[in-house]
Symmetry: C2
Subunit: 249 residues, 2 copies
DNA sequence: TTCTTGCCTTGACCTGAATCAAACGCCAAA
DNA sequence: TTTGGCGTTTGATTCAGGTCAAGGCAAGAA
């Protein structure tokens, strides 16, 4: 089973280029973000859409639950999380986002954000005014298709998390989590077997519906089995096939 | 906390009228489904979009995971569920749909369905060819907005389920489930405090990440507390405020 | 009517994860 | 260098929910 806990291929609409002004057409991640069939003229219109990039420091909020929804944000650099805080104080991480991923989709439904989004490390975002994106999508069909796919994949991703939370034991959840990160790093050109976790054990636990101690123990156990090596936030996957098998029990 | 486990207000795009041909403009649920600001001309175009209604018998599949995605379906009558079956035999119900709800959104992301959809009782659906809907949405702006809201709300709904699965104990999950049904019945003009469950304990359990015995015990316990009365599939909510409070522990 | 079948409830017991607690290691500030 | 604090690991214990098992009830078939 290959869980798609988060977009393995970046689903970004666009990201801007640092030196020039915000030019999606020049962006390094362009081919990952936008369908190739977009005509140069249309591309220029998309370029104009993207607002000035926003820099964030570790710990800063991008938006909070309850705030009016205006932008979606493409992650250019850095690492982010989204979480829901319930009235009775429960806190659930709903996702971790890295370069090319999109933040803010939770606001579309009711024009109000339903999550908090926080930077886990310093980073940069490209804000895209959603109303204008919608308008442009009405005129550029491949852009509309693309937007729908982004929303559709988010729904599938959430279903996968539901399976994880509803039907897997602790160690399986951790294995699925690591495999998902592995894929996402791989698709961004980083090592799929050697990477750093940007989130704490508590955040991992919250995302996976586990206590931080349980998450920690699951990591330790996978290490004892020789499947991974983990030291604090540095993870090495030693036996990818066995990590896969750790999910099917 | 009011969990929005599924659309409390029907999010349908359209449903057809039984006697005439498929005419959304005449449908009893029209005002629930489509934004009011749609012009009569546009309305006629939407009417033409909806394919012939499809009748389903209890137990029949609407679509299965892996099948190509072509339609989304508006529930006209009946009761449906969607579930994911993993390679290793795990089965997780991802949602229950009633009149006005939409089936098939799981196919948008990859043009392949990622869930199975099954009728829990006899019912009728209005299939809408998604490619054509997308095309029309490019021309009718309120329709496009509406479509995006449907997708956006589905994402928020899934986040709420994630909170439920990740952070609530068994009895809280059951209470949240009942409250959600209550709201949805209420918004359709049925009693919010007296209704029939259409799904088995096993399906409820699967949706909520519980074993069927645990689900059954939670129902029994809420009954012992005098909060609900339940006999097999017939539920009466006796004390709505206490049922609410049963969630915050 | 009786039989069959599927679904639900309840009890007894077991286990995986939560909880409580202590200690360690790393980093940053003093 | 020391000190303090945060995040992590690990151990001991508890408990919610899973598992196994038995029995009941309702509806449809024979």
């Amino acid at each position: 089973m290959l869980l798609n806990l988060s977009e393995p291929t970046p689903a970004a609409i666009t990201v801007a280029f640092p030196e020039t002004r915000n030019a999606c057409s020049l962006c390094i991640q362009r081919e990952l973000c936008l369908p190739l069939e977009i005509a140069p003229d249309d591309m220029a219109r998309i370029d104009r859409l993207v607002a000035a990039r926003r820099r964030l420091k570790r710990g800063q909020h991008i938006y909070r639950a309850g705030e009016p929804f205006k932008y979606i944000f493409v992650v250019r650099t850095g690492y982010f999380k989204t979480d829901v805080l319930t009235e009775d104080g429960r806190d659930q991480v709903t996702g971790f986002q890295m370069s090319g991923d999109i933040l803010g989709l939770d606001g579309i439904g009711n024009e109000i954000h339903s999550c908090n989004a926080v930077a886990l490390e310093d980073g940069e975002l490209c804000p895209i005014p959603f109303a204008e994106l919608e308008h442009l999508a009405g005129q550029i069909h491949p852009l509309q298709r693309h937007l729908h796919k982004i929303l559709g994949r988010e729904i599938v991703r959430d279903h996968d998390v539901m399976v994880l939370l509803g039907a897997m034991r602790a160690e399986e959840r951790i294995a699925a989590f690591l495999l998902n990160l592995s894929q996402r790093f791989a698709s961004r050109g980083y090592s799929p077997t050697d990477f750093h976790l940007r989130m704490t054990r508590e955040e991992i636990g919250s995302y996976l519906g586990l206590q931080l101690e349980t998450a920690s123990r699951a990591f330790s156990h996978l290490q004892e089995e020789g499947i991974i090596a983990i030291h604090i936030k540095h993870v090495q996957i030693l036996d990818l096939p066995r990590l896969h098998r750790a999910i099917g029990r």
